[in-house]
Symmetry: C2
Subunit: 235 residues, 2 copies
């Protein structure tokens, strides 16, 4: 936890917060802070700054806070991800959120197993929780918008064309296509397929609306590795 994230309900007055939940446990047991110590804090969706611990015991933590800085800049990217396996989903959301991704569209694809869409990990509550874990890691405050699209074609054909106006539209796909561009100056929409990749018809649908297919060479990376590798290269 590299930042303690605050919610409006934590405030006892304009400059003081009181925490009781897992944040208290973490700060006590991992950071081992005592009264007088400073912690990095941020308001969810808002600014970041410092909190000075006034009181801490097993029941609550009280801090006076000063939020005087902007959170780190986001990455200028929108991710379109074929819905990963539930086991992988949490890590993907947390990692993307820690890197500053602010928009994630989870979509269906031929090789996405139907059962994945019934996972409780797709609940709004879990997606928010994983995003918060990522923000706590990355020291950010702004939750990504995460949208679910259970139908591939209507989303890609009817919605995505409007999303990519003014954006570099890239589809990451293993093979011998163009290399992934480096250090781009333009914001990007980056689409990444499921384990096993998008099928040719899906690749064609993306190409038809203006996506460039790019590859990392012949290696096939796990989705969480591929996202970080691609974002590191692009920006």
């Amino acid at each position: 936890m590299n930042i303690v994230l605050l919610e409006p309900g934590d405030f006892v007055d304009e400059k003081r917060v009181r925490l009781l939940d897992r944040r208290l446990d973490h700060v006590r047991n991992v950071h081992r802070v005592s009264a007088g110590d400073e912690l990095r804090v941020g308001l969810i969706g808002g600014r970041i700054g410092r909190g000075t611990v006034e009181q801490i015991d097993e029941n609550f933590l009280e801090m006076t806070i000063c939020l005087d800085a902007d959170p780190p800049a986001p990455l200028p990217v929108r991710l379109i991800l074929a819905l990963p396996r539930p086991k992988v989903l949490n890590r993907v959301i947390a990692a993307a959120s820690s890197m500053g991704v602010r928009e994630i569209d989870l979509i269906n694809a031929w090789r996405v197993e139907k059962a994945y869409w019934d996972s409780p990990r797709l609940s709004e509550q879990n997606l928010r929780q994983q995003s918060i874990l990522g923000l706590e890691q990355g020291g950010d405050t702004v939750l990504p918008a995460i949208r679910l699209h259970r139908l591939f074609t209507p989303f890609v054909r009817d919605v995505v064309p409007r999303m990519i106006d003014g954006y570099l539209a890239l589809l990451a796909h293993p093979g011998q296509q163009c290399e992934v561009p480096r250090n781009v100056s333009q914001p990007a929409v980056l689409a990444i397929g499921p384990e096993g990749g998008f099928i040719q018809r899906e690749v064609d649908t993306f190409s038809d609306i203006g996506f460039t297919t790019v590859s990392l060479g012949t290696r096939i990376l796990r989705v969480e590795t591929a996202i970080a590798f691609l974002l590191g290269r692009l920006f």
Copy 2:
């Protein structure tokens, strides 16, 4: 499993292999292959190619194989990593190996908990197994060399200077230092600290022997995310 990795003991003659273990289970239950199907195969430490399934049932899989291509090129990098938490170690080794990292030095640091060094995950057998999972993901055959260094100072002061001769020597550390260079033409040695970072004295030890401290800005990423992000940017 994007490649079926073969060991010398699998060969019944020069062109035929017989598999009985988890590879058989995976190929049967995930790939669902039958006789006549082709699979991507590679000899551990050697070439890659295709296997044609001759016979497959619950007891064994027999293939004729043709190994006619080189494995993907490695990344020209040597990683020096503060030993991660055991839970994270497996993912780090598999991810690094899937991206083509061929040299990994796991080192001690002030913020590495002593207990991590007693983890059974540091056994040669487990490190090999995680590396193989990474190679199976990335479609590669060459195992990384993984070395353990329980003493920070003798390793960094006495061994690392010889390792970095002719290499770009970079220490990734959160903060306001130089940006991570992009698309470098030289091979690199990349050092990454533990959760919480290297302490100043450790950073100084690396600086003293010629490392440049670089940062990804103010965000702090989990080690597995940071490695992929940094490698994507560097190469």
